[in-house]
Symmetry: C2
Subunit: 264 residues, 2 copies
DNA sequence: ATTATATAATACCATAGGGAACTTGTCAAA
DNA sequence: TTTGACAAGTTCCCTATGGTATTATATAAT
């Protein structure tokens, strides 16, 4: 066992993890992981105080900037809160901080077994709702696209999309719209769009959707509405996905996250 | 596209925004906003190169660390990508980067007009499914709680929760469970729980749920399943919320975010 | 022509040091 | 008892400087 009669004072050798100078992981990253692990292990509990920046500097032999950066990471993750003049404290579990992404939906698209079939591509006069959403005059022409996404032949998602119709370059614009979604998930192309707003709702399949998705009406489904804007902040595309509820689920974690979730 | 064959010379006076030294916003924050605004305005388009760190230093008269921090923010937001030795580039819109929060759910709880009613609090033998989820022996006693959340008298969510029953401190444990949810959203108390996993599904109301929620069966609803772990990583609470679909929606933005989303 | 090597540019990372703003507690004065 | 000033501790923030790893490019050698 370890001798606990430590001489007072003097940055005593920390019994526990330390920074590995020969690792590929930079010190700030290691330190963040160390602290996160201590929280995960319960050595630091909600409400507890995290050692001050000065203490951490001494303790791990790193510079203030490095400590700050490590703490900033935990701050971003919502794991701790810091108040100037008071200290840094471990935050209790807060459900509202949980986040989830569209990774599951993206996977659905990028799955090699997933195919996209166009049900229709045509122009149509805008309904009041469409004209409102896209900011075009009533009865203006819009491009209307319907897609069906199937996985191994089994339909899983139905997509409706309305695109503004630009008479100056009609064909190109339409083709952009057609190919747009593929690129959207991949990150290639699509230099036309600047911003998008997304909304997720729970809904049930209508008759039409049910027949297309090879299911019975009234089944549970997600409705993911989207609207994209161009660089002049004008709406370009409005539409929504209908995804069978049994084919999609979103997951989130609250509290201590998995180790090392670097940026992309 | 921006012409990158710039005349070699001389940090020319930048026509455009600059850092305000007398502002409350720290320089790194201002710089991040400037760049974000340039992306939002289309001055920097997807695929374009962001000026190098050195250039930004000169241009805005700040130190490298400050620049790095600003860029880190954009990196975290998924707005740009950086590769060592190559440069930093504006990223096209990627749907997968959209993140949704459970803030909406939290708001539902913390609304002053929301009240919680207990339908039942009792112990029951664990079904196979419960024993599996909570990691307790089959037929072990568990605490079973049913809650009904109403907003202005109108029921919006139904909650079932199973808690492990600790014979050593039965009453305290039970009460912890009862009060747990309140604290979970607020961030007070609840030093018992370390981590939680959440799953969000689309579903339709069963007969029972419909009558409780004062709606008709077959209506759309969210099913938010949760499982919480203690500091020994043992499951403590398993259950799920059934939230009326017309009372909850999740929203997110992809691409350029609103100005200034600091940490909490 | 192809391959290796040097060079520059770049994003990264860390150190050392100092200052500003806020909170808390103590102690003296009213 | 209450108020006010002060000091210490803390989180923040920035500057200045230098080093490392990777990439791209130009140059030399094969």
């Amino acid at each position: 066992m370890v001798d606990s009669r430590l001489p007072a004072g003097r940055a005593r050798p920390v019994r526990g993890p330390s920074i590995d100078r020969n690792s590929f992981e930079p010190p700030y990253y290691q330190l963040a992981n160390i602290l996160r692990r201590q929280i995960a292990a319960g050595e630091l509990r909600p409400g507890d105080r995290v050692p001050s920046e000065g203490q951490l500097c001494e303790q791990y032999g790193v510079s203030p900037m490095t400590v700050r950066r490590a703490i900033n990471i935990l701050l971003d993750e919502g794991l701790v809160t810091a108040t100037r003049g008071r200290g840094t404290f471990v935050r209790p579990l807060v459900l509202g901080t949980a986040t989830f992404g569209l990774q599951a939906l993206e996977d659905l698209f990028n799955d090699a077994h997933t195919t996209v079939r166009f049900l229709s591509v045509k122009t149509a006069p805008a309904t009041p709702r469409i004209s409102q959403k896209l900011g075009v005059p009533a009865d203006a022409k819009v491009i209307f696209i319907r897609r069906l996404l199937s996985n191994d032949g089994e339909p899983v998602a139905y997509h409706r999309e309305y695109l503004v119709f630009d008479p100056t370059q009609p064909i190109v614009e339409a083709e952009m719209g057609i190919t747009s979604l593929q690129g959207l998930f991949e990150g290639r192309g699509e230099t036309v769009l600047k911003r998008g707003d997304l909304t997720i709702e729970a809904t049930v399949l209508t008759e039409e959707e049910a027949t297309l998705l090879n299911a019975t009406p009234g089944r549970a489904a997600f409705r993911i509405e989207h609207i994209f804007f161009d660089f002049e902040d004008r709406p370009v595309s409005w539409g929504w996905f209908i995804v069978r509820g049994d084919r999609l689920r979103f997951q989130a974690t609250v509290g201590v996250r998995r180790e090392g979730e670097g940026r992309s």
